[in-house]
Amino acid sequence: MTDTIAERKVVLVIDDDEDFCASMRELLVDAGYDVVTRSSGRQALDLLHGDLACRPAAVIMDLRMPDMDGYAFLAACELEPRLRELPVIVVSAYGDPSGVELDFFQKPINVSRLLRSLAKIMSSSVRATA
């Protein structure tokens, strides 16, 4: 591993399914990312508003959640210039999301494809900031 702690990118996982969050944490930590999990869109927004240091490089998010669902979270992000460009990967057990043009993964997700998708997001953000 050539990564240092400072270089590890943060991925925010938003899903009310605790086991799914836990498994994603293990997967992504193994793949070299830092992981923060939240169980609703509302909690995720609070996190994004509260702690600027914890700006995730990507978000992996379920659509159906209590409190604030994925669609509402996306709509809220769209209203804020700072969050508008946040790369979001949608994972859902309930078929294709309607009216959302984003990376979409059907649960149960294909792990290697998700990792490839995430790597692509990270490399394009590196290019963008370079």
Binding site: D19, F20, L27, D30, P108, V111, S112
Partner: protein, 381 residues
Amino acid sequence: MQVSSSTRSLVDSDHLGPGGPEILIVDADPDSRAGLRELVEPLAHAIDVGSLENALPVGQTRERAAILIDLDLQPPDCDGLQILARLRESSTGRDVPALFLSHSSDPLAERRGDELGALGYLRKPVDPAALRAKLEVLLTLYQRGVELRRITAEARAKDVHMGMLGHDLRNPLSAILVSARIVLMRDMLTPEDRTSVARIARNAERMAALIRDLLDYTRGQSAGGIPIVRQPAHMGEICAAMIEDIALLHPERPIRMSASGKLRGSWDRGRVEQAISNLISNALTHGTGAVNLVVEGRRGEVAISVHNEGAPIPEDQLPHLFDPFSRGETSRLGLGLGLFIVREILRAHGGTVEVTTSVDHGTTFTTRWPRAVRSTRELET
């Protein structure tokens, strides 16, 4: 005029539930109406609209078992034929069986009545036995219609519940599969443990595939096919990535692939994966030894064939191989939806799937994926 206690007027008809059959009486003559009510009441709720102006608003409130209309009604804008014609324009009156009643025979009026779907004409004064006989037949048909609608609604509700269950199962399955994959990818297992974890993942994948096929089947039935979204893709890359995933779960079975020709085109990647993984899964289940994929770029299309050695598919199964639920009752391997879904995915892409099977050469499924020809289904959507 004496009104028997069992008759119901327009006013209290509003309190009737939709449960019991109702027969609408449209007649301008109060005495005639009273007579009809008494004949109808033993069989069904008589809904006497009273004045003719009420015929349409009351007739349109809900579907009745039958409507009795006086054909002698004379007002210029409100005769019996016009009332039925107007009722036919509403969803509740479109199919309601209508019987006309009149003092005399008027061939022209009856012909117009026939065009409006009138079931018959009774002379006034009405012969009670004749009316009762007709009403009994209509009520029997009505009850069967009600029963059929109830059964259809229940079947739909079951489909919806099955769909919800299928979707809900994907959440726990997702946690199982991701966790199993993590352990396999960490590569820290003893060979024995690795075999066990691969078995967990393999079977969770099978469950996921069964759920996906079942949901696609029920959705396809209601939506008229499997929807696809074409995007630029490379068949060689799609197949190589899939084989890598599947091979991890079947360490004991070699899965080989060869690719040639131009492999770029426009397909629904997820659906290609679903179709080919169904074929590979079949080859692993029913065949022996290695599974061979040949991906071949041809003029206008890419062909992907999946081959396995082993006993050929019995000849009597071949004609129905791609039909849904086609497996024999003795099979314990699933619903038999896999190949049906493969065919539907190919059909949505404007492609085909064929099979050859023999003792000497094993079994080969060949799928042909047109690169960009837009299928009928895509053009429709």
